[in-house]
Symmetry: C2
Subunit: 340 residues, 2 copies
DNA sequence: GTTTAATGTGAAAACGTTTTCCTAAAAGGG
DNA sequence: CCCTTTTAGGAAAACGTTTTCACATTAAAC
């Protein structure tokens, strides 16, 4: 039904090999043969079958992308990945693991079966089995949003610890001392655990005690942020500022506080993390840490490309970040002479 | 380097065909052969190469998804598509066309080369060339977010006209007469043109004149929504309510109005369209039209599946919608006895 | 007990390319 | 003018599966 390279060869009166050579110009062919073939290809709109090509060339021009969920942060990440993939002739194939680590392993396997040229993995928790499978598969992998330095698997991530320490110092300089935090799931080493440790340890370093009642946990959703904030605010004593592990949490927390009659930032200051678009759309605009997930994606894809082409790659890739001061933190003391 | 079915056959002491039969259980094989083969497969962790499979079976278990951009609405759409695709053993492969119709054609071609089993196309404007290519390719296609009834290509979309007429009627019942609209690009027949026509025509039907100064255009972004609202509000006379073609536009418009000192909804009422998560996170919560994009995705994928399996399909697939009344519209007159 | 049907198995063809291998012709060197 | 080297192009092998075909062997039918 569909034309094959054999049909083209017959119609042009040349051999199959010559047609292939013209298509890929892999070897010099005589001009008059070349013209004949190109004419037939043009007239028939022939396009070589990519599957057959893949079988023999071992390359599918496909990049597997494994994500724990598909939300607007993933969307930005995908944007970054797709951008540089597309520019280099690759398409991306998606697997949503719905926060289930077993499905991550499945996806890893499946992508190997499908002979993808490389994989970008956003794992929620890199287990031994992950590492094992990645090393057995012998397909280039880049991990995003987690750090896997011990195993020589390249990764791209923000420093999740330092920005939070900067936030704590910033809040202190604004005059806050009773500071709380709503963190994410601690199984998540990066966005969960690291951000939390950054908070706890910086508070200790500054000799500020952390009231356990000022600390809540959430799964990064606005709803959970709302609930965690509710728990914090129903106590006798409440914090003057709450650090949130993500903007989504922060928005939830903000809405809760407002629903309970508190004004932001006059009564309670809130700071987020990620700087998603939402942070600028909400009022007051959210003070937060800017992390560009699109850059995360493009950087990951660039690293993967290098790995695919056997070029040397950096294992550790830290993303830039920036404290973005907007309107959700109240300045109590006025000793902000120098900017951070 | 990697094991092939031949190696398995050799190790199990049987023929290649038998191994294939065991793997696919496509034909009955003797138990003792079956056991031998299964043992070897288990011990070696053998997995058949999907590319070779695809070459002969003509099926790759891949669904091509063509999107004009990747934002949070796409994310929900993808979620829906991926969910049912995954449940049926398919993976999705993505193409971002960056609002460029030529790239849509490219993607259509490319996906054919890659022998995908089906395509979901979110086009911004279905041209003759689109139709031609889709019909030539002979690959099942489902269009989302546009209507292509004339060409027997199945589509899934909301009715964009009626909800807007309902909004207009709702606003009237709330006592509004000076109503404006910020619509989307009119090239977009669905979310752009239809929603706009719904507004204009319903206003006419109700004998309400539309002040041209109350009408603005935007590209669905919050920023553009802000700008369009700014233009409207800088006039002498301003509307009491503004219908927006999307929630993103509405949020932009809302922020603009607030920045200019107007209160929502006391001074100006605003209504959106789509009901993205943002609509509930913003204060006042946005009155809007609920459209579930995840459902749009899953419905599209279900339709595509039927098409792939040569089952009869509905060409026209309207999505449910619902007017969601929240807090961004002020009730002036109090004749809301019956609910819409 | 013979004929027919059903069943299990392996060899080989097929899928649509790229690449290797070979041969014939052209070019170059003495 | 002969021998070697280069070049161009075709035939065929290869990629890793599934499926067809042919052939036994066994079971069923009369």
């Amino acid at each position: 039904m569909n034309l094959t390279i054999k049909d083209i060869a017959r119609m042009a009166g040349v051999s199959v090999s010559s047609v292939s050579r013209v298509i890929n110009n892999s070897k010099p062919v005589n001009d008059h043969i070349k013209e004949k073939v190109e004419k037939v290809i043009r007239e028939t709109n022939f396009r070589p079958n990519a599957v057959a090509r893949g079988l023999i060339s071992k390359s599918t021009n496909l990049i597997g992308v494994i994500l724990p969920q598909i939300n607007y942060i993933s969307a930005e990440l995908i944007n970054g990945i797709e951008g540089v993939a597309n520019k280099n002739g690759y398409n991306i194939i998606l697997s949503n693991t719905r926060l289930n680590p077993d499905l991550e392993l499945n996806a890893l396997q499946l992508f190997k079966d499908k002979q993808v040229d490389g994989i970008i993995l956003s794992s929620i928790d890199m287990s031994e089995r992950h590492i094992q499978l990645i090393q057995d598969n012998k397909i280039p992998v880049v991990v995003v949003g987690q750090k896997t330095t011990d195993y020589a698997i390249p990764w791209v991530d923000v420093d999740n610890y330092r920005p939070i320490t900067e936030i704590v110092r910033y809040l202190m300089r604004c005059g806050h001392e009773k500071i709380g935090m709503i963190h994410g799931p601690l199984i998540d080493k990066s966005a969960g655990d690291s951000r939390y440790r950054g908070f706890i340890e910086e508070m200790e370093r500054k000799n500020l005690s952390v009231n356990p009642k000022f600390v809540g946990e959430s799964n990064f959703s606005s709803k959970d942020g709302y609930l965690a904030m509710e728990k914090i605010l129903k106590c006798e004593d409440i914090p003057t500022a709450v650090v949130c592990a993500s903007d989504t949490i922060a928005i939830g927390a903000k809405n809760c506080a407002e629903d309970l009659g508190y004004r932001i930032p006059e009564d309670i200051s809130i700071v987020g993390f990620d700087d998603i678009e939402l942070a600028t759309l909400v009022r007051p605009k959210l003070t937060t840490v800017q992390v560009c997930f699109e850059t995360m994606g493009s950087k990951a894809m660039e690293t993967l490309l290098q790995s695919i082409e056997f070029k040397p790659v950096n294992i550790e890739n830290y993303l830039d970040y920036r404290l973005i001061i907007r309107d959700s933190v109240k300045v109590v003391a006025d000793d902000l002479g120098t900017k951070i």
